[in-house]
């Protein structure tokens, strides 16, 4: 069970976290029901410490932490979190080998 995070993405998470008050305890990523093709990605700051069953990915001596709940981990296993700069704008993206398809807007995902 592993999720990769690129160096670029780590740097961007660190930068954004530093600009937020209060400084978040970590970044929570996951999969939730809903969205136009069934699931949507969850991608938000966490002001709480990780829950007991969460998987915690720690980078740069713990200064960047990503929390994933065990159910989401099943769907995110083998994914890489990237930061991209494209004509559409800049932002994060999951390269997810488990995804069978996404809707046009890309906010939802099918497995």
């Amino acid at each position: 069970m592993a999720i990769g995070v690129t160096d670029r993405a780590i740097a961007e998470i660190k930068k954004a976290a530093g600009q937020r008050t209060p400084v978040p305890k970590g970044l929570r990523v996951g999969i939730r029901g809903g969205g136009c093709t069934g699931f949507s990605y969850l991608f938000e700051w966490s002001d709480n410490e990780p829950r007991g069953e969460d998987k915690v990915l720690s980078f740069e001596d713990g200064s960047v932490r990503v929390f994933v709940d065990p159910k989401s981990l099943i769907y995110l296993d083998g994914s890489t979190l990237e930061y991209q700069t494209t004509m559409m704008g800049r932002g994060f993206k999951f390269i997810n080998p488990n995804a069978k398809g996404t809707c046009g807007c890309g906010e939802s995902v099918q497995f």
Partner: protein, 657 residues
């Protein structure tokens, strides 16, 4: 389309809220009874009170001392305190005080005069001798509070959120009122779910069924019919229909009127008696579900005397049959909208207490040509489905692949020449959706398009509802029919329509966002639909005539312009033939026979074919040599004006997503 890139959200700001799995419930806020259900060990169950009763009567009693009583206890107080005890409040949700539908019925309530706020647009019930006025929203919140208390007692802790069901035909105002009632009761409303869809969810998961289903939901106060497609765990709502003011209460009322007549209670009837008679009617109806004859004692208004009301099932069936018959047209329309024949349905799901009546089952069986499914308690099935949905939203495992889709209630289209509506997205298309059509210019050297977005089923612009207008300018002058305007309609999951127009040669584009459902009540949607059926034949004729006249005017002006523009390419024989054809066309155009106009247009086409060919060859040749664009534009600006969006060049409509 490229995938969206994510930005990091604030905690809880993601579209789907966090909620602990076991603490999210499904609530069926019904007209007569309400229920609350949870998913426990992978299966939905309804929560009961200490008397093992799953139903909470949707009745609220306001006592003189300020206390509020909800449920069975309140229902028992109804005949003693008819004005202080509100039943069937769902009928009043989101209704205005001037709404005849809400206040003309036989009810014992006293309506409060409008409050200090003159803009107040809700009915208010005057209770506790006029010392207190409550809105339907507040009454509903009391019921929800009782359900919340029941759930919290069962869970042993606070509730995280709820999915509340609403009739498919509830409009924005009624949905908002339901949401607000939830908030007032201290419940976080995760989502509002259409009742028939919830029922199908309960069945779909229990049976692992695939196929097309009809959901026939005859509750206390609302009738809904939906055609749903279940495929590989995916739900699609193909069509919906119904009547937000038809249900078992109307059966009670029909029986109550008969009781009043039979007992000779004419004239002014006091509210206590109205309540007692309505209760008696309900008891008789329930008894006659299993028995063929029933009787009840009713206290008379003049004191201690009582009268006996005796009724046979056949007599009752005759009383309620006219009310039940009102379901028929909605069912047939929903089937037609879904493009499904009743014989192709895999099953019919029964929802709502009224579907227990033998007469209703017979009616449904006859209507659909097959016996309905009733394996799950029709009173509970909606709450159970809502609990399943709440579990999914709360992140519960297992059924995460169930997907619910909504539909576009009325067709969306654009005005074209002659005042005809070209529909781009058809009614009952599931959202999110998108479709593209290509249009072209109507006049030579046309430099702009006016786009008028319309909603409705009728063929002519005048009969549809205008939603928005915008224009696209800056198109270089070209001969008519050369420009290619690609118009894309997309409707997102929230029902917001976006119209994008793009001229392909220049890349000029314009966009507008509209909320199509805004300001339309279910009654208006219903009326617009009925109109389109009533006028179907004349509409099609009017459309054909309008289209042919546009065609005639277009070809006439094009032919005249071309003849003046390039006389050197015209032979004498051509000129004589074209002139003769044009005279014939002008004569046909003033008539009302679209086929005659069409024939005359074809004649002009035929007569000018060779001339047009020579001219086209030259236009293409000069285009390739490359003219000074600026000079052409300057000239065109003097002569060309904006024209309405013109003839359709061809279409490639399709659905994205």
């Amino acid at each position: 389309m490229a995938e969206a890139l994510f930005q990091i959200s604030e905690p809880g700001a993601s579209r789907v809220k966090h909620a602990c799995r076991t603490r999210a419930v499904g609530i069926d806020l019904g007209t007569t009874n309400s229920l609350v259900a949870i998913v426990d060990g992978g299966r939905p169950i309804c929560l009961t009170d200490d008397r093992d009763d799953v139903l909470v009567p949707s009745v609220v009693h306001y006592a003189a001392d300020g206390t509020v009583v909800v449920g069975a206890e309140a229902r028992d107080l109804a005949s003693r305190f008819p004005r202080d005890t509100i039943a069937s409040v769902k009928r009043f949700m989101g209704r205005g005080p001037g709404d005849a539908e809400a206040t003309r019925r036989l009810t014992p309530y006293l309506f409060a005069p409008s409050g200090p706020n003159a803009n107040e647009a809700v009915v208010r019930f005057s209770v506790t001798g006029g010392t207190r006025a409550v809105t339907p929203l507040e009454v509903s919140a009391e019921i929800l509070k009782a359900l919340r208390a029941r759930a919290e007692a069962a869970l042993g802790g606070p509730l995280a959120g709820a999915v509340i069901t609403v009739p498919a035909y509830f409009d924005d105002g009624q949905r908002q009122a339901t949401r607000d009632a939830g908030r007032l009761a201290g419940i976080e409303v995760l989502r509002l779910l259409n009742e028939p869809t919830a029922a199908a969810l309960a069945y779909g998961l229990d049976k692992q069924a695939e196929g097309t289903f009809a959901v026939f939901d005859l509750g206390g106060g609302t009738f809904d019919v939906s055609i749903l497609k279940l495929q590989e765990g995916v739900f699609e709502v193909k069509s919906t229909g119904g009547d937000s003011a038809l249900g078992g209460d109307d059966f009670d009322r029909a029986i109550a009127h008969a009781i009043i007549g039979r007992l000779g209670l004419g004239g002014e009837i006091d509210p206590g008696t109205v309540r007692r008679v309505l209760d008696a009617a309900r008891v008789l109806k329930e008894k006659l579900t299993t028995e063929s004859e029933a009787a009840i004692e009713i206290a008379l208004p003049d004191g201690d005397r009582t009268a006996t009301m005796r009724l046979h099932r056949a007599e009752m069936d005759a009383l309620v049959a006219p009310v039940l018959a009102r379901c028929g047209p909605s069912v047939r329309r929903a089937l037609k909208d879904a493009g499904v024949d009743a014989s192709a349905l895999s099953g019919v799901i029964l929802v709502g207490g009224a579907t227990r009546m033998p007469l209703v089952r017979q009616f449904v069986e006859k209507l659909f040509g097959k016996p309905p499914l009733a394996d799950i308690d029709p009173d509970q099935v909606v709450a159970l489905g809502a609990a399943v949905q709440a579990d999914i939203l709360a992140g519960g495992a297992g059924q995460g692949d169930v997907l619910l889709l909504d539909v576009v209630p009325l067709s969306l289209g654009l005005e074209t020449m002659g005042g005809v509506v070209e529909k781009i997205i058809h009614r009952n298309t599931t959202v999110p959706c998108g479709a593209t059509q290509t249009f072209t210019t109507y006049a030579d050297k046309q430099t702009g398009f006016e786009l008028k977005v319309l909603q409705g089923e009728r063929e002519l612009v005048a009969d549809c509802r205008p939603l928005a207008e915008f224009s696209l300018k800056g198109i270089p002058p070209m001969p008519a029919g050369m420009a290619r305007l690609e118009v894309t309609f997309t409707v997102d999951a929230d029902g917001i329509l976006r119209v994008k127009a793009r001229e392909e040669i220049t890349g000029q584009e314009a966009t507008i966002d509209v909320k199509p459902s805004y300001g339309l009540t279910d009654d208006e949607v219903e009326r617009m639909l009925l109109d389109s059926f009533a006028h179907a034949e004349e509409d099609v004729k009017a459309r054909l005539l309008a289209e042919q006249r546009v065609e005639a005017q277009g070809i006439t002006s094009a032919a005249r312009l071309a003849m003046a523009d390039a006389p050197e390419l015209l032979t004498d024989a051509d000129r004589v033939a074209i002139e003769a054809a044009l005279v014939a066309l002008a004569r046909a155009e003033v008539g009302n026979d679209h086929q005659a106009i069409r024939a005359a247009v074809e004649e002009v086409d035929h007569a000018s074919k060779e001339f047009a060919g020579r001219r086209m060859n030259r236009a293409i040749g000069s285009g390739l040599r490359g003219k000074d664009v600026a000079a052409v534009e300057a000239k065109a600006d003097e002569t060309a004006s904006k024209r309405d969006l013109a003839t359709r060049a061809g279409s490639h409509a399709g659905h994205s997503h």
